[in-house]
């Protein structure tokens, strides 16, 4: 039976887990912090790329022969 010193116990159960937590914490909090936050105020020029989001959930599509809609609807507004 080998004897384990107090320092070895502390090293295995405190220092090593602590180092792992510190590395993960640094990766979580530190990385990406350099990215400047963008605050858009109304009236500022818009200098961002165009974005399009479209959901991919399956739609309930009517067969072409059963379609009755003929016009594109909608509305517009300004501020």
């Amino acid at each position: 039976m080998t004897l384990v010193s107090v320092l070895e116990v502390i090293g295995i159960f405190v220092v090593i887990p602590g180092a792992i937590v510190a590395v993960l914490g640094l990766l979580t909090v530190g990385v990406g912090h350099h990215r400047a936050k963008v605050h858009y105020q109304p009236g500022q020029p818009w200098e961002f790329p165009d974005h399009l989001w479209a959901g991919d959930a399956p739609v309930i599509a009517t067969p072409v022969a059963d379609r009755v809609g003929t016009r594109i609807g909608g509305a517009r507004g300004t501020w």
């Binding site: 936050k37 961002f48 399009l52 989001w53 959901g55 739609v59 309930i60 909608g74």
Partner: protein
């Protein structure tokens, strides 16, 4: 999910079966982001919930709409290919201070122009405060509310 070709740009299948590029590309875009990750997640969830409940397809556009905002919005709607008749597009151009709602030919039977104006009012109110993300999410929520729930999904 629309089929991709590995380049990160998504494509939609047209009625002839050919793959067509969506312009602008759907999904993440390089460059400065005006919405935070959390806001993007919220928008994703709102779009997914709206589609599950209504059975329509919802799309949101944020960017320039060109000189003729209406025709650009209808162009974006048409770029969704075979789903376009069932798609509701909320297009927001902060630079032009304009919002356009375009409903496909079948979707317009579910969402009246008056219902679309309700969503536009909400978007305008949010944009007046500079809340772009809130404008998109609340606009889509209202449009989904106007579309109603598909009967066989009402118990979900």
């Amino acid at each position: 999910m629309a089929p991709g070709d590995g380049s990160g740009q998504l494509a939609v299948r047209t009625s002839t079966g050919a793959l067509a590029r969506v312009n602008p590309p759907m999904g993440p875009v390089e460059g400065a982001q005006v919405l935070t990750v959390r806001q993007l997640q919220d928008l994703d969830e709102v779009i997914a919930e709206a589609e599950q409940a209504s059975g329509l397809r919802f799309a949101a556009y944020l960017g320039d709409l060109g000189p003729d905002t209406r025709s650009r919005a209808e162009e974006l709607l048409a770029s969704l290919g075979t789903d376009a008749p069932y798609t509701v597009l909320l297009a927001l151009s902060p630079a032009q201070r304009t919002v356009e709602v375009a409903t496909g030919t079948e979707a317009s039977l579910r969402i009246s122009d008056r219902g679309a104006r309700v969503a536009v009012l909400s978007v305008v109110a949010a944009c007046g405060d500079g809340d772009i993300a809130g404008a998109l999410t609340s606009g889509i929520r209202i449009l989904a509310d106007q579309a109603g729930t598909v009967p066989d999904r009402s118990f979900w």
